[in-house]
């Protein structure tokens, strides 16, 4: 490995302070973030796009508000939409002002931040654009003291990733070693590849330009507080680990349900579908965090090694078993919150006979010591009745019940529900005695709510990830092998679904319902049921979350 860019530039971005005055009240013990030591310029390719104005600039502004940007910092937005520094700044100001994800818009803080924003109009395939970029980067070094450190962010269509990487190298804008010449890192948005073959091809190109240690494949799910809390919940609580295995866990459900349809993304979604859009990255990452062995430390490769182990242990899906372990669906016309909505095939830029799945279920088995024979049911879909991303861990039933007044089948197993979003928190379903002379039992919930415990701090999840990339900490980013393993798991399903078009079998669920009937029967065959609105207590509301 040529680069020495493998460890964070400081011991860790996150610390645990304890600030107390002698004898005064409780102490604060809240993770906090440290400002990166290395100055840098962040070049955003695709800066005129939605991601930049909706997520990236609000995240950078939030960091600026908290004095968490490096001492010397500049942004160069780069896209082929004609703009100059001033018009780019005005455009970003309008978006940040009205963004629900900024801490708060303060004109004085924006005025401090905005001189760091720059823009160049460039075609990603035109060498002139890279020459101009090189000149502007030198200017940034002089004007903002960015010390030749470069953080490239690919927020473009994936079709440009390879082109941009090659051009950066050809124009001498990449340093493979950190040192006096500065460091170079590259953040690459999902999707990374379209399938196993294309992911490998893209990796080959990227690795001709960058060492793996310089590559940060971003999945914003991993920046969410609730996702990071999975590690804390599992490994900072001694009571959890002993029951986190096949002896106590009956099965695991991971659901990412959206109320929205395909909206204006029809063109992209027709090529992607639910498996590529949600499973290959978000759902597999959640599964890996739930199932991983304890890492040795919380930075560097340790967490990524353990997550890759999980993906490596997933039993391959064979074509003959496909019907037993996979379900696909596509929404037809229906109703969302009392209003009629069109079916997927009626959405803009969608083929009238489209076979693209907008809903999918996979039943996966992790073939290792901890999880042997514990099914992981993964589900995602659009136009479902609720917006919710959750992990439900259902434990085994008690071996014997002596409460004769309550029928055995009314005693449900313990379920630990981790709500990733919305209403972030964790609840544990327990059996409890109802008040009264009889020994009647019912289920109740012990609930931890993030907003109650920690207040509401708006954040885009990109703050953490951008900060980590600036500090050289890859823990929350996807590594090459994990991406490849994810595609390997999906490959048989993608191929089979590609080969057998759904045709008249689609649409097979109405918008506003919980997907096709087969999604329920897949679990019912195993004697289980999805944790939906009717089985989840009051933590999910349908209105206002769409």
């Amino acid at each position: 490995m040529a680069s020495n860019d493998t460890t964070p530039s400081m011991s860790k971005a996150h610390g645990t302070p304890t600030v107390t005055a002698q004898g005064e009240g409780p102490k604060l013990s809240r993770p906090f973030l440290l400002r990166p030591e290395d100055s840098c310029a962040c070049v955003i390719f695709g800066a005129s796009g939605d991601l930049t104005s909706r997520k990236l600039i609000p995240a950078l502004y939030n960091l600026a508000c908290q004095d968490l940007l490096p001492p010397g910092f500049a942004v160069i937005g780069c896209a082929n939409t004609p703009m100059h520094d001033e018009s780019f700044r005005d455009h970003m100001c309008q978006r940040v002002k009205h963004s629900p994800e900024v801490l708060v818009f303060r004109q004085r803080l924006w005025d401090e931040f905005v001189p760091a924003l720059h823009y160049i109009t460039a075609d990603f395939e035109d060498p002139a654009g890279y020459q101009q970029l090189g000149q502007r980067l030198s200017e940034m070094d002089r004007e903002h003291g960015t010390n030749s450190n470069r953080l490239f962010y690919l927020a473009t269509s994936p079709s440009f990733y390879a082109t941009i990487a090659k051009n950066l190298a050809q124009h001498g804008l990449v340093s493979r070693r950190s040192g006096a010449a500065g460091w170079t890192r590259i953040i690459i948005e999902k999707p990374f590849g379209h399938d196993l073959e294309s992911a490998r091809r893209l990796d080959e190109v990227i690795h001709t330009v960058f060492d793996e240690a310089q590559v940060y494949r971003i999945d914003h799910y991993l920046g969410k507080e609730t996702v990071q809390n999975l590690l804390a919940f599992r490994f900072a609580n001694a009571i959890i680990e002993p029951i986190w295995n096949r002896h106590y866990v009956d099965h695991v459900q991971i659901t990412a349900a959206e109320m929205l349809g395909v909206e204006h993304r029809g063109k992209y979604y027709e090529e992607a579908g639910c498996l590529r859009d949600m499973f290959q990255n978000h759902l597999f990452q959640l599964m890996a965090l739930v199932a991983m062995e304890p890492p040795v430390r919380h930075y560097g490769q340790s967490v990524r090694d353990r997550k890759a182990d999980v993906l490596r242990a997933v039993l391959p899906i064979s074509a003959k078993d496909l019907a037993e372990v996979a379900v696909r669906g596509q929404y037809g016309p229906g109703e969302m919150q009392g209003k009629p909505v069109p079916g997927y095939r009626q959405e803009p830029d969608v083929a009238p006979n489209s076979s693209t799945e907008t809903f999918a279920v996979l039943k996966l088995l992790i073939d290792n010591w901890r999880w042997a024979n514990v099914p992981f049911y993964l589900r995602s879909g659009k136009r479902l009745p609720q917006k919710m991303t959750l992990i439900a861990i259902e434990f085994k039933r008690v071996p014997h019940l002596f409460f004769s007044e309550t029928p055995q089948d009314q005693i449900e197993p313990n379920v630990l529900t981790i709500r990733i979003q919305p209403n972030e928190g964790i609840s544990l379903q327990l059996g409890a005695k109802m008040p009264g002379p009889e020994m009647y039992l019912r289920q109740m919930q012990m609930n931890f709510s993030y907003s109650d415990a920690f207040g509401e701090f708006p954040a885009t999840a990109y703050e953490t990830l951008l900060l980590d990339a600036m500090q050289g900490d890859p823990t929350l980013f996807n590594r090459s092998d994990a991406v490849e393993l994810s595609w390997q798991i999906l490959e048989p399903v993608l191929e089979a679904w590609q080969a057998t078009r759904a045709g008249t079998a689609f649409p097979n669920y109405a918008a506003g319902t919980w997907g096709p009937v087969r999604a329920d029967t897949l679990l019912a065959r195993d004697g289980r049921a999805w944790k939906n609105a009717t089985t989840l207590p009051r933590f999910y509301v349908t209105e206002a979350d769409a």
Binding site: P17, V19, A21, E24, G25, P26, L28, R30, F32, L33, C65, Q66, D67, L68, L103, V104, F105, R106, R108, L109, S451, D452, A453, F454, G455, E456, F457, P458
Partner: protein, 118 residues
């Protein structure tokens, strides 16, 4: 939560009554403040009685600031003990809020020609 509210010219000063604002009362504070924030644009929180605030308390301040900000109003803080100030700095909220030493300074800062002291 019994909030003491005083009016100084067109500025509403809220004196936080307790020594602690944390997970046990931050939600109540926020809901008690909601009607006042709807009716007032210039608000000062006097924190001189406050000895401890945790992240949920800070979150409630931020929520109040966001609410006022959305309707063109503003919130200023004053009377922080050194310890509370240290907590604001620790979680890097001190730049987001306009913080003044005394109540008079905070109220006067709502005059257009004056800016934050810190």
């Amino acid at each position: 939560m019994e909030l003491v509210v005083e009016k100084m010219d067109d500025v509403t000063v809220v004196i936080l009554p307790g020594e602690e604002l944390d997970a046990s009362n931050a939600k109540e504070f926020k809901s008690d403040m909601a009607p006042l924030l709807q009716a007032q644009a210039k608000v000062v929180f006097d924190l001189s009685q406050l000895r401890f605030v945790d992240s949920s308390g800070l979150g409630s301040f931020l929520s109040c600031l966001r609410q006022l900000n959305a309707t063109g109003g503003d919130l200023k803080l004053c009377g922080m003990s050194q310890r509370v100030r240290a907590l604001f700095e620790l979680v890097r909220m001190h730049r987001i809020f306009d913080i003044y030493t005394t109540r008079d300074e905070a109220v006067r800062a709502f005059q257009p020609e004056r800016g934050p002291q810190e």
